[in-house]
């Protein structure tokens, strides 16, 4: 095995080994064995760094490491090969996953300190890292699906980590089941592709589509089915409902899985299948993304749980990425995945730091207020300076203010959307509109969160005295991630210059889409998608988009400042009264009633189906079973009669004959010697008489 392949395989396998060690010996190791996964992910990070540097020094968009693949399954009709794909996209994803995962491991050492299942938590983190690294490394859809499910499983385990809480137990079930809905579509998509192309690996699938073996409406259907998987995993409308509930998991988990990496898996998957998506499919994807973006942003405005605000913000940002991919701003969408991973992980870890402090303060004063409710916070700025400043930097990045990474990526997506919907295809004018609206809302709700949490006076005055900054293991990851939110790591020009990322990651070849898109009536024309983020329309849209996005972000921040800065109590009271009276605020607070809608439709439908099946089970299935039981009883009754009368009868008859004969013969056996003497003599006489008669 060549050294490269071995080293690349080690990247996911090390965390897997760490998981095994944690599972079997974790509790007996010193410090709960937390250093085992930490060491494993650190080595994985160094190995990933090696390959990232390799990719970076090549500085070639077409760079990829040629590695052997081997046949996993040989079904006479097709050989299923498995292998490792290492190109620029994978290298970037490896960095994102190992950096965020490593920092979250470190952070958890402080955050989970004293938890009774401390070592199990690190084992779960390790198996998640394994699944996620495997997911980005494989070179075919089948193994992608396998790791996809593994990631779902680890997410399930981690959401339900505090399974004593009924809400956590329900949340992990919900996450798993909702994801299953999307995964079903994903699987159907894989099967359509395999049916027509006869292969799973990306390269063969692209070739199959390019050569026209899979095209037209079926290709659109396959693309949309595959996209269903991304809808589930990346929490897109209409399967977004699981992500906010997933905040029941420990906060590091929310940062790692439900903000930075796993939910980005859907976006990663769309970038991988981008070459086979038809324009029709892309339009659908763009609208799904846009709906998700505005939906998440509006709901986030009216939430009080600090983690839920961030969760809806994540949904909204994932919608942005998907919309970016959908409008053909391929590079921008994927770029946003990377920048978002850093500052959203920072925000989640920061919120964890806040919750940690508030929880301890409440614990000290024997207060049973909800430590995650922003209404119970306030004024934490002075006591937690590191948390506050890192949180502020990440918030600014999320709001899309210049000099941050978020500005670069979000601006590029908005430029793509504007170029697509505003310039080349005005019929889709809603897409940029929604994009800018969501951008303004993002700035607004994030600063609402800042003002509610860190400014003003808390409800309990003692909170400020008792709160304290988190330990070093928790603040170091915050600082690192906040630093990564600056523009300098991604491009020299803070106002949307194209950096190394845009050079290394290029929108895929368009020739593929022409095969499927030529006949499409709705399609925007392959050339628009071909342009990607570097296209003419997008270029023309670049400066208007920048100005507009700055305006809406500024407006959002200003509105939040006017409404919430130093008017904390007033606004909380105002919001409470609008919650009472109903209307838009309450609708947003109740998340557009999606949970209620799903309860009333799907859950209810399932319950009706359950009743029908229950009846079927009780009547038909049980009836059949009971019928066969009755028949068996009838047959065995006849059998019993035969046994009792014929078989036993024969045996008894033999015994009866013997008893009768014995009864007769026992009279001779008197026990009196004299009788025997007489009998012997009589016998001899009889023999003699017979002898004489015969003679």
């Amino acid at each position: 095995m060549p050294l490269d392949l071995l080293l690349i395989l080690l990247i996911p396998v090390l965390p897997l080994m760490a998981f095994a060690i944690q599972a079997f010996w974790g509790r007996r190791l010193p410090r709960g064995g937390d250093w085992v996964p930490l060491a494993a992910i650190s080595i994985s990070f160094l190995l990933s760094l090696r390959y990232f540097i390799l990719a970076f020094s090549a500085y070639d968009p077409a760079w990829r490491l040629e590695l052997d693949s081997w046949v996993w399954l040989d079904l006479s009709v097709a050989k299923i090969a498995v292998g490792v794909l290492l190109d620029n996209i994978t290298a970037v994803m490896l960095m994102v996953v190992t950096v965020v995962s490593g920092l979250v491991h470190l952070y958890s050492v402080g955050y989970m300190h004293g938890d009774p299942r401390y070592s199990r938590f690190f084992g779960f983190l390790a198996i998640f890292s394994f699944s996620m690294l495997g997911l980005v490394l494989v070179d075919n859809f089948l193994l992608l699906y396998v790791f996809w499910e593994l990631v779902g499983l680890s997410s399930y385990l981690l959401i339900g980590f505090w399974y004593e809480r009924p809400s956590a137990a329900a949340a992990c079930k919900k996450a798993f089941l909702v994801n299953r809905v999307g995964d079903l579509g994903f699987f159907v998509g894989i099967m359509i592709v395999f049916w027509k192309v006869g292969a799973f690996d990306y390269a063969s699938v692209y070739d199959g589509v390019a050569s026209g073996r899979l095209g037209g409406g079926l290709l659109t259907a396959a693309g949309l089915c595959l996209f269903c998987g991304a809808v589930g995993k990346s929490a897109q409308f209409p399967l977004h409902v699981w992500l906010p509930d997933a905040m029941e998991g420990p906060t590091p988990v929310s940062a790692l899985i439900h903000a930075a990496t796993m939910v980005a898996a859907g976006v990663y998957m769309v970038t991988r299948m981008f070459p086979i998506l038809t324009p029709d499919a892309l339009v659908v994807i763009a609208y799904i993304g846009a709906i998700t973006a505005i939906l998440g942003a509006t709901i986030a405005v009216a939430q009080y749980d600090i983690k839920r605000v961030l969760a809806y913000s994540t949904i909204s940002q994932l919608g942005y990425m998907i919309m970016g991919l959908g409008v053909g701003a391929y590079v921008a969408g994927f770029f946003h995945l990377m920048t978002h991973a850093a500052f959203k992980a920072c925000l989640f870890l920061g919120s964890g730091s806040v919750i940690h402090a508030v929880e301890h303060a409440f614990h000290k004063t024997k207060n049973d207020l909800d430590p995650q409710d922003m209404r119970n916070m306030g004024g934490l700025r002075a006591k937690m300076p590191l948390t506050f400043w890192t949180f502020l930097i990440a918030t600014v990045a999320l709001a899309g203010v210049p000099l941050t990474s978020g500005f670069l990526s979000k601006d590029a997506i908005l430029a793509g959307a504007l170029g697509f919907g505003g310039f080349s295809r005005p019929v889709h004018f809603l897409l940029p509109l929604i994009g800018f609206a969501a951008a303004g809302l993002t700035a607004f709700y994030m600063f609402r969160l800042i003002f509610l949490t860190f400014y003003g006076e808390p409800r309990e005055k003692s909170l400020v005295e008792n709160a304290h900054e988190s330990p070093g293991v928790m603040t170091v990851p915050l600082v690192v991630l906040a630093a990564l939110s600056f523009w300098i790591f991604y491009a020299w020009n803070p106002l949307g210059g194209e950096g190394w990322f845009h050079h290394l990651v290029r929108a895929p070849d368009v020739g593929l889409q022409a095969a499927g898109g030529a006949t499409s009536p709705v399609g925007a024309g392959a050339e628009v998608y071909a342009a990607g983020s570097g296209g003419d329309a997008s270029h023309a849209a670049h400066y208007p988009a920048m100005v507009l996005s700055l305006l809406v972000a500024g407006a959002g921040i200003y509105t939040a400042y006017r409404k919430y800065y130093n008017r904390r109590d007033e606004m909380i009271a105002l919001e409470a009264s609008s919650l009472q009276s109903g209307g838009l605020f309450r609708t947003l607070n109740r998340k557009w009633y999606f949970d209620e809608l799903y309860d009333a439709s799907f859950v209810r439908a399932v319950m009706v189906g359950r009743t029908v099946l229950d009846w079927f089970d009780a009547r038909v299935v049980d009836g059949l079973v009971n019928l066969s039981a009755t028949l068996t009883r009838g047959i065995s009754f006849i059998d019993r009669l035969f046994d009792e009368w014929v078989v036993d009868g024969l045996v008894n008859a033999v015994a009866g004959v013997i008893r009768w004969a014995g009864g007769g013969l026992r009279r001779i056996q008197t026990g009196r010697l004299q009788t025997y003497v007489v009998l012997v003599m009589g016998g001899i006489l009889a023999l003699m008489v017979i002898r004489l008669m015969v003679a």
């Binding site: 026990g671 009196r672 010697l673 004299q674 003497v677 003599m681």
Partner: protein, 101 residues
């Protein structure tokens, strides 16, 4: 002239009387006496056959052996009877049924 038949008839009568005594008497001593009669009937036959055929002295020798054997048998049997009497104060074999089930 006394021929072989006479001897045989006397022996047969003796034998029948012995059997009759063994089969009918209740007293153990009487039964033993019957057994003696049977043995002596057999002795009489042996001696008679030896006298009237040319088989040498085998019959007489056999008879002597039987007499010795009868003496031994009588000694053992009388000892048993004596013990029975000691234990039960009677020798009526009809009532000696302790071993019957």
């Amino acid at each position: 002239m006394i021929a072989l038949e006479h001897y045989l008839v006397v022996a047969a009568i003796l034998f029948c009387l012995g059997i009759l005594a063994v089969a009918t008497r209740r007293n153990a001593i009487s039964i033993l006496m019957g057994v003696e009669l049977i043995l002596n009937a057999a002795n009489l036959n042996l001696v008679a056959f030896a006298r009237f055929t040319d088989s040498g002295f085998g019959g007489q020798v056999f008879a002597v052996f039987v007499i010795v054997l009868a003496a031994a048998e009588a000694a053992v049997a009388l000892a048993i009877v004596l013990n029975i009497y000691r234990n039960y104060q009677m020798v009526n074999i009809d009532r000696l049924d302790s071993l019957s089930g």
